[in-house]
């Protein structure tokens, strides 16, 4: 095996080592950390962030960013919940369309895809910075959420909430959902042309274009995927709370970016992996969970989390510059 592969593996196992260290520490410091119940608890807690982070990884790999994921989550969750509970009334025709769980979830996912598609098209067609376009979408989707919900939560969603609370084969359903998403995208990123092109475009957009890659199309698809996965996360959030909150998902974009970056993906694009992001999300999840168990004040939790993010990236940087 070539030398730089060893180095790569060593660097990857560095974050794995950090995670194990944290697990050991938390196990020593608290009584309830290393228990089966808490194990699933952590995984369930990170399932939402990780689902979004997978989409964010793709976007960041192309050298972009998506700030709208939290708002898209809120809007698609609210739409799913609203359709499920109230259906859609078309008043002039006096028709009320009712939705079952499958229909409502599909509608939410479709909406997420469309919102992401919109981001991607504006970014590539009009050459606007992703930061700006998705910042606009952040506000638009939040506003639409308020309009749709009137500012009130939509609660009481019936058996839909099983998706958030149920178990299957001894594993919580949200963990299933995110696990499947992670699995699919690991294969896509490693084994398909699309995945390779994402890396290539992030590494050198001009060279990719010259090599005949359809740069615009790949980028549009990436943003659409990010929107879609935000909507998948919305299904989990909404089902778990058995309600859609109009202010759901606030600052989720930052958690997702944090997981991606802690996982070793470069913000300038071209370098990183889904596996890294899984580790990043786990590190942040274990940290959150542990600090709660340690009864650390939520205010301090934020401070610690911030430092962990910075330290992780500093270590990553110094590895790369060697």
């Amino acid at each position: 095996m070539p030398q730089n592969r060893y180095k790569e593996i060593l660097q990857k196992s560095q974050s794995l080592f950090a995670l194990l260290l944290m697990i050991v520490l938390m196990t020593i410091l608290t009584d309830n950390f290393f228990t089966t119940g808490n194990f699933w608890n952590v995984l369930r807690q990170i399932s939402v962030n990780l689902c979004i982070s997978v989409g964010m990884t793709l976007v960041i790999l192309t050298g972009g960013i998506d700030l709208s994921v939290g708002s898209v989550l809120a809007l698609t969750g609210a739409v799913t919940a609203g359709l499920l509970k109230n259906g859609i009334a078309i008043e002039p025709l006096n028709i009320l369309i009712r939705y079952n769980t499958f229909g409502a979830v599909s509608a939410g996912l479709f909406l997420g895809l469309i919102l992401g598609l919109f981001n991607g098209v504006v970014i590539t067609r009009f050459k606007v910075a992703p930061f700006v376009v998705t910042l606009g979408m952040l506000t638009i989707a939040r506003g639409l959420t308020m309009l749709w919900t009137g500012g009130y939560p939509i609660t009481g969603l019936g058996k839909f909430s099983v998706i958030g609370t149920g178990w299957f084969l001894g594993i919580p359903l949200p963990v299933w959902v995110t696990g499947i998403v992670v699995g699919i995208f690991m294969i896509i990123m490693r084994k398909t042309r699309f995945g390779r092109y994402v890396y290539a475009i992030g590494g050198n957009e001009q060279a990719s274009h010259l090599s005949g890659l359809n740069v615009k199309r790949v980028k549009i698809i990436v943003y659409a995927i990010c929107g879609l996965l935000s909507a998948v996360a919305a299904v989990i959030v909404t089902a778990r709370l058995d309600s859609a909150q109009p202010n759901a998902g606030i600052s989720y974009e930052l958690d997702a970016i944090a997981a991606v970056v802690v996982g070793g993906t470069s913000l300038s694009g071209g370098r990183g992996s889904i596996a890294g992001t899984v580790l990043g999300a786990l590190i942040i999840g274990v940290l959150n969970n542990g600090l709660v168990l340690l009864n650390v004040s939520p205010f301090w939790q934020q401070v610690v989390k911030g430092f962990v993010i910075i330290v992780a990236v500093v270590i990553d940087r110094s590895n790369k510059s060697e």
Binding site: P2, Q3, N4, R5, I187, K191, T192, R193, R196, Y199, A200, G203, N204, Q206, A207, S208, H209, L210, S211, G212, L213, N214, G270, R271
Partner: protein, 507 residues
């Protein structure tokens, strides 16, 4: 050492060794720099030239051996240290800040100040004007770098180095990006500087330049000084032999003969000027290339050669028009992927910026434009990928420890071969090569020339754009000369001479 020689040697490296992880870049190198002379340093890429220069200029501090300045040992701890000892350096890569003006770049970090500690722009512009005039560059000191051509930028770098009034000026391949006119100006300037007592260390690949301006030539190979000559006492052949370590056979192998029919026809290739209305960057150009033929395209900087290749390749669909005929068939190309489908490959001038994904490995770069054939049921088969990439590594003799090596870690010549491999993997009928041997060592050059010869023998048609006359004359079957976006002349291989080509190329 007698006193006379002591006075003659201004700078000296004595037994200098510099190691990097895994390589010895310099191995017990001794090199004397003669006062007020042009001291040329030549060697292949990776021979250690740049490393030595970086020790002279204070970039590297951890080396074994001694550096002597005016006979006394010095140890620079940083680049500023070297600057204050009057050693200036002009790097091969341009280090200018594009959104700042010429003057701001030249005086970056040492801006003249008013008594109130504000930047004294008047003084800065005035000083810059004087410098630019000395260099025969008619530019406004307030103009931003981004508006300048590469050649002009290079001269701004030189002005920047000169503004420090160095006693020793190191130039690392200063002519690699500038036109012949600009080179002539530069050489006049070098003469002027040496007359004023400035010492020049001149690094270059271009043999004819060394013989034109240098007083002494030192050859480096594999981190060692192989030999040192007075320029008048040595021949080009001997220098090349010393550089590569063995007698170099013919640099331009030529085993093919053109016999094929017309393969590629370009009619009315036109590209509008991006900013000036009614002006064309490429102005109604026509040419043809036969099967198994190398067409050389020569022109000075800004003649529109690169832009013409880009237009053919579909990079400017909204600003250009061109009729492309391949094998008699009219082909409409609006983007690179269309061009590739039509059987065209394009090796761009700038390897790092436009040719390679630097952080990707050799395998992925080679397969990038032809990844589809490595697919099995929608998924990439690693086995097929390695097989395809491996074939080209072998065929083009790409020197890499493995297929998984990042291309950033390869030498320039091998990087260029990776790009060629990427295009060969698409099975092109026509290859457009833009400065295919820029900045690569002489052995790699020879290998690329041999490859071009081999490819046309297998009936490929190749268009080579180059600003090196010996290269154009050496490899082309026919030569087209460009100036100001227009085709100015066309010569057959037999009738072409350097004089004829230059005459046609000057606008």
């Amino acid at each position: 050492m007698n006193n006379l020689e002591k006075k003659d040697i201004i700078l000296e490296a004595r037994g200098v060794t510099k190691k990097f992880p895994g390589v010895i870049a310099l191995n017990n190198v001794s090199f004397k720099v003669h006062r007020a002379k042009v001291n040329a340093l030549i060697g292949e890429n990776g021979a250690g030239k740049s490393t030595l220069m970086k020790i002279f200029s204070g970039v590297y501090q951890d080396y074994e051996g001694q550096i002597l300045l005016d006979g006394g040992e010095v140890k620079f701890t940083n680049t500023r240290d070297a600057q204050s000892s009057s050693i200036g350096i002009i790097y091969q890569e341009l280090n200018l800040i594009h959104n700042l003006s010429i003057a701001e770049n030249i005086f970056l970090g040492r801006e003249p100040l008013t008594p109130f500690k504000f930047i004294d722009y008047n003084k800065m512009y005035r000083k810059t004007s004087v410098l630019l005039k000395e260099l025969n560059l008619d530019l406004d000191p307030r103009a931003p770098i981004s508006g300048l051509r590469v050649g002009q930028q290079q001269i701004v770098e030189i002005a920047k180095a000169l503004s420090l009034k160095p006693k020793i000026l190191i130039m690392d391949e200063p002519t690699s990006a500038i036109s012949d006119e600009e080179i002539a100006t530069l050489f006049k300037l070098i003469k002027l500087l040496t007359d004023q007592g400035v010492t020049i260390v001149y690094i270059s690949h271009k043999m004819d330049e060394l013989f034109q301006i240098s007083d002494r030539i030192t050859v480096l190979r594999d981190g060692r000084v192989v030999d040192s000559f007075k320029t008048g006492e040595v021949t080009e052949d001997l220098i090349i032999q010393k550089m590569v370590g063995r007698p170099l056979k013919e640099l331009f192998p030529r085993t093919h003969t053109v016999s094929g029919d017309e393969m590629f026809k370009i009619e009315n290739c036109t590209l509008v000027h991006p900013t000036i209305d009614g002006k064309y960057t490429v102005d109604h150009v026509n040419f043809t290339v036969n099967k198994g033929e190398v067409l050389g395209i020569f022109g000075l900087m800004g003649a529109g050669r690169t832009e013409m290749l880009e237009t053919i390749f579909g990079l400017h669909p909204n600003m250009s028009s061109v009729d492309v005929y391949i094998d008699g068939q009219k082909t409409n190309i609006t983007n690179p992927s269309g061009a590739i489908k039509a059987g065209i490959g394009f090796v761009p001038e700038d390897r790092k910026l436009r040719g390679l994904i630097m952080m990707m490995n050799v395998r992925d770069n080679i397969n990038l434009a032809s990844l589809k054939r490595s697919e099995k049921m929608g998924l990439i088969s690693e086995k097929l990928e390695e097989e395809y990439a491996g074939q080209y590594v072998e065929k083009l003799k790409i020197k890499t420890p493995s297929l998984h090596q990042k291309v950033a870690n390869l030498s320039g010549g091998n990087q260029q071969k990776v790009i060629l491999a990427k295009w060969l993997a698409t099975n092109p009928r026509i290859l457009l090569l833009d400065e295919p041997t820029r900045g690569i060592d002489i052995n790699a050059k020879r290998e690329i020339y041999a490859l071009i010869d081999e490819l046309v023998k297998a009936d490929m048609s190749i268009v080579v754009v180059s600003s090196e006359l010996p290269e154009i004359l050496g490899i082309s079957d026919r030569i087209v000369v460009f100036a100001e976006g227009k085709k100015k002349a066309e010569f057959g291989r037999e009738e072409a001479t350097e004089e004829k080509i230059m005459k046609a190329a000057i606008p």
